[in-house]
C-alpha cells in the first residue's frame, strides 16, 4: 500500500543537494497532479549535475536526445519565442557550438538560415526564396527549376523544367574528312536548356581538298526518331566568302555535331574556302 509524505518545504540541513529515489528509481508526477516542476531561479540538468549556462542542459548518448510527441491531432510544435525582441531578431536555433556554425533565425526580414555567421538563405513573408550568397546548386542531373505552374505551361509538365545552363568554349575542327587543320579555330557556346547558341570563327588553310566543308559543334543536333528537327538551323547572317554568300547550316541527317556550308549552288567543299575565314553564330536545338 502506497504511503504519502506531505511537507511544505524540504531544505537540506547540510550541503546544497537533495537526493530523491534509488539508483534505478524514478520520480513520477501522477496524472492527477495539476501542478508541475518549477525551477524558479536555476537550471535543470539531465544527464549532468553541472548545467552549462543553459536553463535546461540535456546530455546523453540517446538518439534522439530530445523527443517531443504530440498525442492529439496537430503538429508537434516546438515554440522558441522572445518576449522582448530587440526589433530585429525574434528567435533562433543554434546548431553547433557557436553562431559561427549554423543558426535558424526568425527576424523581421524573414526566416534565415545562417552558416558561418552569414545569412545564406532567406524566406521573407512575401514567399520568395532568396539565395543571398553563393549559388543555387542543382545536385541531380535532370533536375532544375520547374516552371510548370506558370501559365501557359501545362501543370506537371516535365517540359517546363529548366534543367541546364552551361557556357564554355570549344575548338571547331574539320569533320568533313579532309583532315584539315584550321588556321584559326575559335568557338564559344551558351547552352540554355536544350538550346545551344554558338559563335564560331574558323579560317581554312590554303587547300584544294574537295571533301565536304564541315565544322564541328559542341553538342549534337536533335534527332528524335530520325526526325532531324535541327536540320535547317542556319546562321542569321551568312559569313563572307569571295564569290557569294555562305549559309552555315546544320544538316545532321542524324544526331551528329557538325555544321555544313551551302551557297545557292549546293553544299560546299573545303577548296571553296581555301585561305578564307568565316565568322558566324548559330542557334540550334540539341537532344
Amino acid at each position: 500500500m502506497a504511503s504519502n509524505l506531505r511537507v511544505d518545504n524540504i531544505q537540506p540541513s547540510t550541503g546544497m543537494g537533495i537526493g530523491i529515489g534509488t539508483a534505478n528509481g524514478s520520480v513520477t508526477f501522477n496524472a492527477d497532479v495539476t501542478g508541475g516542476l518549477n525551477v524558479t531561479n536555476g537550471s535543470v540538468g539531465i544527464g549532468t549535475d553541472n548545467p552549462n549556462a543553459a536553463k535546461l542542459d540535456v546530455r546523453g548518448s540517446n538518439n534522439p536526445l530530445l523527443k517531443l510527441t504530440q498525442t492529439t491531432s496537430g503538429i508537434a510544435r516546438l515554440n522558441i519565442e522572445s518576449e522582448t525582441n530587440d526589433g530585429y531578431q525574434y528567435a533562433g536555433i543554434g546548431i553547433g557550438t557557436a553562431s559561427a556554425d549554423a543558426e535558424l533565425m526568425w527576424t523581421t526580414l524573414g526566416f534565415d538560415v545562417n552558416v558561418a555567421d552569414s545569412v545564406r538563405l532567406r524566406i521573407p513573408s512575401s514567399g520568395d526564396v532568396q539565395v543571398l550568397t553563393g549559388n543555387l546548386v542543382i545536385g541531380t542531373s535532370g533536375k532544375g527549376i520547374d516552371f510548370s505552374a506558370a501559365s501557359p505551361s501545362a501543370a506537371g509538365s516535365s517540359s517546363a523544367v529548366l534543367d541546364d545552363y552551361e557556357e564554355g568554349t570549344f575548338t571547331p575542327t574539320d569533320v568533313g574528312g579532309g583532315g584539315l587543320t584550321f588556321t584559326t579555330a575559335l568557338g564559344h557556346y551558351v547552352k540554355i536548356g536544350n538550346i545551344v547558341n554558338v559563335q564560331i570563327r574558323v579560317k581554312w588553310p590554303t587547300t584544294s581538298n574537295t571533301s565536304s566543308a564541315r565544322v564541328s559543334l559542341p553538342f549534337t543536333g536533335f534527332n528524335p526518331s530520325g526526325a532531324n528537327v535541327s536540320d535547317g538551323a542556319t546562321a542569321g547572317a551568312a559569313g563572307y566568302i569571295s564569290g557569294g554568300s555562305v549559309i552555315p547550316q546544320i544538316h545532321t541527317s542524324g544526331s551528329s555535331a557538325e555544321i555544313y556550308f551551302y551557297n545557292f549552288g549546293g553544299q560546299m567543299n573545303n577548296s571553296n574556302f581555301s585561305g578564307l575565314e568565316l565568322r558566324f553564330g548559330i542557334v540550334y536545338r540539341t537532344s
Partner: protein, 96 residues
C-alpha cells in the same frame, strides 16, 4: 598560397544513333585545395571520316584521354561505324 590547375572530363556522354561522344573538360583552378573557378571546354567525337574510296577512316583516339578513348571504343561497334559511313556517303552526294 598555392594555385593549382587541373583538367577533368566531368561529362562524357554518348548521344544519338551514331553514338557521338560528347566530352566536357572542366578546367578547375584551386587555391590551397579550394576551387576558385571552373570553366568548360567541349568537343564531340564521331566514329570516323571517309577516304577517297568512301571507306571509313576511324577517328584517331590516340590524343584523347584514356577514359574518353575507352568509352568511344566501346560505343563504336562495327554496326555503328557502318551506319555512320553510309550517312557520310549520303551527305557526300549533296556536294557541289
Amino acid at each position: 598560397m598555392a594555385l593549382t590547375e587541373r583538367c577533368e572530363n566531368d561529362k562524357i556522354e554518348i548521344v544519338g544513333q551514331y553514338k557521338a561522344v560528347q566530352v566536357r573538360c572542366a578546367t578547375v583552378i584551386e587555391r590551397d585545395g579550394v576551387e576558385v573557378t571552373r570553366s568548360f571546354h567541349r568537343h564531340v567525337l564521331h566514329p570516323g571520316t571517309l577516304d577517297e574510296n568512301d571507306a571509313l577512316v576511324d577517328t584517331d583516339l590516340s590524343g584523347e584521354d584514356a577514359d574518353v578513348a575507352a568509352i568511344a571504343t566501346a560505343a563504336w561497334t562495327d554496326a555503328v561505324k557502318e551506319a555512320w559511313r553510309l550517312k557520310l556517303v549520303a551527305d557526300k552526294q549533296q556536294l557541289v
